[in-house]
């Protein structure tokens, strides 16, 4: 049903740490890998060996340059469906294929009833929906609905593929509707924020800001490996000191 549930029992979602994300694309590729065989299968690509290879992916990792001069920084920025609380992508859908689950808040597309009109992708401010040309239906992040409840998986694997794949632990999964959950506490502690709050879609997924820079002007003593070792004055030592100096030029 295209009408939104009044409330959802849970608000399952992701918390993405922009401080630790290194932009390695592991989440994006593991998402593609899992979903090309899971709920969203097939997740097709076009012209894969030609000059214009492109395809349907449910997670994209941008890199931005933020700020100017010595204060500028590079921020890697994964972007996928935020499982919004009041998303227009659901209400514009003419078929009821797009829906938000009352049980856990996950926003899904029913691949058996979607007509591929693409209107939902127009209604999403986050560019999170990608149409699958070959399959003729809309695709989007399912929060790995086919992993998180899968009892045949070990408990640590019952998380979205992107969360499992992230090598820096920048992605966290949990119930953001429960103020005591680990993800809610993390958002509180790190002052997590919403994307485009002005759109009024109330995204469930939160982003954690990069931490403040260390103050480089009061750098602590150099670490052991960098300290120059006072040599014994032997010929070998003098040779190595000379070689070190020359090579360092």
């Amino acid at each position: 049903m295209t009408s939104l549930p009044e409330t959802t029992s849970k608000k399952l979602g992701l918390v993405i740490d922009l401080d630790t994300c290194v932009g390695c694309q592991a989440c994006a590729t593991s998402c593609k890998e899992w979903n090309a065989g899971g709920y969203s299968a097939p997740l097709t690509d076009q012209d894969t060996r030609g000059s214009d290879p492109h395809g349907t992916w449910l997670n994209r990792v941008h890199s931005y340059e933020v700020g100017d001069g010595p204060d500028s920084r590079t921020v890697h920025f994964p972007r996928s469906c935020l499982h919004c609380e009041t998303p227009a992508c659901v209400t514009v859908c003419p078929t009821g294929a797009s829906y938000k689950r009352a049980s856990d808040g996950i926003v899904l597309v029913n691949p058996d009833t979607c007509i591929g009109c693409k209107l939902c992708s127009w209604a999403c401010p986050y560019g999170a929906r990608e149409y699958d040309t070959d399959d003729g239906v809309m695709k989007k992040c399912t929060l790995c609905v086919d992993r998180i409840y899968n009892e045949s998986f070990a408990p640590e694997d019952r998380v979205p593929a992107c969360v499992r794949a992230c090598p820096t632990g920048a992605r966290h999964f949990g119930d953001l509707g429960d103020p005591g959950s680990a993800v809610s506490l993390l958002v509180k502690e790190r002052e997590g924020f919403d994307l485009l709050p002005g759109m009024g879609f109330k995204p469930v997924n939160k982003y954690l800001p990069p931490r403040d820079r260390r103050d480089l002007t009061t750098a602590s003593a150099p670490r052991a490996a960098e300290r120059t070792v006072a040599g014994s004055g032997s010929l070998a030592d003098r040779f190595f000191a000379w070689a070190d100096k020359t090579l360092a030029r």
Binding site: T2, A88, T95, W122, Y131
Partner: protein, 316 residues
Amino acid sequence: MHPAYSVIVFTTASGAGYGLLIWLAVAAALNLVPRDPALGFVGLGVALALITIGLLASTLHLGRPERAWRALSQWKSSWLSREGIAAIVTYLPAGALGLGWVFGEFVPGQIATGAWLSVPCALITVWCTGMIYASLPTIRAWDQPLVAPVYVVLALATGGVLLSLLLAAFGYDPRWAAILSVVTLALGWFLKARYWLAIDTAPKTHTAEAATGLGRFGTVRPLDPPHTQPNFVMREMGYQVARRHAEKLRRLSVLLLFVLPIGAGLLLLLDLPSPFQIAIASLAALSAAAGVLTERWLFFAEAEHVAMLYYRGGVA
């Protein structure tokens, strides 16, 4: 937004068809035209053909056209669903009107009832078409109060131009149709000019800084794109027409859709011999068709989508 030809044909052809249907229904109900079966057959035939071609073109835009019937289910929340239902419902009074006009009434009052019901049904359908676009907060150029009114007025105006041609071709007096097309065209011109002013001056409130939430650290500029080739979002939402190019096309659509057909409508008010009237009305119809196609192409090409902030940065 990518200007898909199926959607441009859908909105312009069905708009003109509903406009012609509305004017023919008014004419039949008020006895402004003789109950000439040939006029009814050709007139309502053209109207319903345009509507049907438009609706079929819109299903070409679908990934799964065979499931199109499913789009009728979500009228509670979806303007697209409402549009589909209104379009189908409109066939009933339009059919009653057309059959009564061409073959004679099967039941007394069939023509009048069909005519008076066709008018609101057709108006509602075109309004729903406009609201599909006007209800999207993600596209500043569409999230405007004038979008749906412009759809309705342009449907009436292009339908009026077709009616003038129809009456001239059948040798009936086209003057009342010429007057109403001049009036609706002028209104359409006024509203479209206001619309363009509105989208040129409406503040751009969404920024790359808000899209990423990183504004507290300074301006946000895309550095590495997430993929090498454009994806669906960029192909569908990233279409951009150069400002200068758009200006030219706006002027062209004003000339073709408003200036020339209004001039032609005024000429039709003179008592010219029939062949001249037919020639003038035909040129007006061709000009308006080219003009409304240009106008609709621009409606898409000039619309920027908020999601492109993630790819381009800046404001939207």
